[in-house]
């Protein structure tokens, strides 16, 4: 099982080396800068669509929400409309909290007891915090990258950049300079959250035991992406103008190999391409799947509104007639009413 993270780590390092060698040694610029990103994007779209449509192809025969609060019942009993929704609005609310705030994961902290209360619940909230930090930081980082694809840069991206760089960190020493260009908090939050999630997987026996290589791989991959991004923004600076020109070229289907950009950019680009291509074929599809989870996206109004199962088929049952046939005598003897007296 330790093979799992060793393997994933090695693969990610190898991928980085391949990108570097591909550009610096073999000079396959066209392949790595143009073919790979396009192929990755196509794989993403096809894979994503296939996966989601595959799910859509399966039926939802029953309405099986996991109810996490009081149901809609008598009018004087207060219903928990979010955790046990009986209307579409309620379901939308529940899904919103689930997707936007990871409500179920947060639930872990709810129980607190004074006596004997110790560590275990604390790391649970850390899982929630780290998960939330990771996802939001990642979203901000992705959205910030839109500046490379739009000219002029959209207002909301500028606002996001402004907010992200609101806190100024400036540190200036011979071997470590950071602060110009302005520090984006999201990148560091992303990296920190990733390291926490990775550490959790490696050091918590339980989680390590259930983790597969495919759990470590995306972590290492995104760590690689975040680290290379941070390196090239603050430490080994690259020609941003050339990169934007390249990105716009990709987006307008007039790709052009960028010139004079540091090798670390190619590593970054290649790792991102791998992530994008890998996404639909992995557990990362939880991003799409969460919308389709039948225990969350259905209202608990089963007794109020009939749910139709399209493949419902008739089955052989033991009818009353068969039953009475077998026990008629005993029923009559016991004075239980029967359909046919003889």
């Amino acid at each position: 099982m330790n093979l799992n993270y060793l393997f994933s780590f090695t693969v990610v390092v190898a991928l980085a080396m391949i990108a570097w060698a591909g550009i610096d040694v073999w000079g396959l610029n066209g392949l790595f800068c143009i073919a790979v990103p396009y192929v990755a994007a196509i794989l993403f779209i096809i894979g994503f669509a296939k996966k989601v449509l595959g799910w859509a192809d399966s039926y939802v025969p029953f309405r099986i929400p996991t109810t996490c609060g009081q149901e809609k019942s008598l009018p004087w009993i207060k219903q928990n409309k979010i955790d046990n929704p009986s209307t579409t609005t309620g379901v939308v609310m529940r899904m919103f909290f689930e997707i936007v705030l990871f409500r179920s994961l947060f639930r872990n902290t709810k129980a607190k007891f004074k006596d004997n209360y110790r560590l275990s619940y604390r790391w649970e909230i850390f899982l929630w915090v780290a998960a939330l930090a990771f996802h939001y930081a990642f979203a901000v980082v992705v959205l910030r990258h839109l500046r490379f694809f739009f000219e002029p840069v959209p207002q909301f991206v500028q606002l996001l950049e402004k907010a992200d760089s609101f806190f100024r960190f400036e540190f200036f020493a011979p071997f470590f300079k950071i602060g110009l260009p302005g520090v984006y908090l999201s990148g560091f939050v992303l990296l920190g959250a990733l390291l926490f999630l990775l550490g959790r997987r490696i050091f918590l026996g339980q989680v390590r035991y259930v983790s597969l290589a495919s759990d470590y791989f995306p972590l290492f991959l995104i760590i690689g992406i975040a680290a290379s991004g941070i390196l090239m923004r603050y430490f080994a600076k690259v020609d941003v103008i050339a990169i934007k020109e390249f990105a716009m070229g990709l987006a307008s289907l007039h790709p052009k190999v960028p010139e004079g950009v540091g090798a670390i950019f190619y590593v970054h680009l290649f790792l991102v391409s791998v992530l994008v291509a890998y996404f639909p074929y992995s557990k990362l599809m939880h991003a799409g799947g969460i919308f389709l989870s039948p225990t969350r996206n259905l209202a608990n109004n089963n007794r109020e509104k009939r749910h139709i199962n399209p493949w419902n088929y008739s089955v052989k049952t033991h009818t009353y007639e068969e039953y009475e046939e077998e026990f008629r005598e005993k029923m009559i003897e016991a004075g239980i009413p029967v359909e046919k007296e003889q």
Partner: protein, 280 residues
């Protein structure tokens, strides 16, 4: 299992160390197709050849030479102009929210009455004359400045030559320094200072909204071999020199006069106090 974990950590460590190493970074940054020559140039930094230097800069103001506000005006004006000190005549906000119209005033060197400047020297036997003549006030450049201690970002710092400087880039506008300064020598930019400037001295930067500012003993002029603007404009009423040099003008002006701290509870050794003694 233990073994492989350790091995992994080791590998991770080596990689991290490798990535962190400066040469690797340079390589990463410099390689790629096209221009291959982007090694970081090694520039050197040095002092200007004609800069005025001192072990400890000090200023002595001979208040006997100022009798009316008009005597101070050109001096203040010189400073304001050079340093882009804004002046808001129509500070509506200030008028609305505070009875003190000068609340949002930015000042580096300014006119002050005796009692405000030397609160401990004021007593009812004070010469009547002193109650009416204006005095010049500016940052004391204390020897042991409380503002420097108060600043959380080290935006306010003391140079080796005694000048208490502001690094506006670092100022976060917390105003701890203003609270710490016993002399009220610091001002906060409630508004964009450019709004209060009719004319801008292009060569000297303005500040932005939300930072604190104060007199810098014209550090930028000293670097070019020039005396502070106020000194230049004072016709000799203000002396400027090295306090650590026994032969300097300032030491000569002070010779034979008693030195005592102006505010007993401030431990700083305060240059401004001396002007008070001279006028007595």
């Amino acid at each position: 299992m233990e073994n492989s974990r350790r091995m992994f950590l080791k590998m991770a460590g080596i990689t991290a160390a490798g990535l962190a190493a400066a040469p690797a970074l340079t390589t990463l940054a410099s390689s790629g197709p096209g221009e291959k020559h982007k090694e970081k140039p090694v520039g050197k930094v040095m002092n200007n050849a004609d800069a005025l230097t001192a072990k400890h800069w000090g200023m002595v103001i001979d208040t006997r030479k100022f009798t009316s506000a008009s005597d101070l005006e050109p001096i203040i004006e010189a400073c304001n102009k050079i340093h882009n000190i804004p002046k808001f005549d129509d500070d509506l906000k200030a008028m609305m929210f505070s009875s003190d119209k000068k609340r949002h005033e930015i000042k580096w060197i300014w006119e002050e009455e005796f009692g405000h400047l030397f609160p401990d020297c004021e007593n009812r036997y004070l010469a009547e004359r002193l109650r009416h003549i204006p005095f010049l006030a500016l940052c004391n450049h204390c020897e042991n400045p409380p503002c420097v201690r108060a600043c959380p970002t080290k935006a306010t710092f003391q140079r080796a030559d005694g000048i208490v400087m502001m690094d506006y880039h670092r100022c976060i506008g917390c105003r701890f320094c203003m609270a710490a300064c016993p002399y009220g020598s610091r001002s906060f930019n409630f508004r964009d200072p450019r709004e209060g400037l009719k004319e801008i001295n292009v060569e000297y930067p303005t500040r932005m909204r939300g930072v604190v500012e104060k007199c810098n003993f014209c550090a930028e002029r000293l670097a070019k071999g020039q005396l502070p603007a106020c000194v230049e404009a004072s016709n000799g009423a203000i002396l400027f020199g090295d306090l650590d040099d026994p032969d300097s003008d300032v030491r000569a002006a002070l010779r034979g006069r008693v030195l005592e701290p102006s505010l007993p509870f401030i431990t700083s050794y305060n240059n401004m106090r001396w002007s008070c003694l001279i006028q007595r």
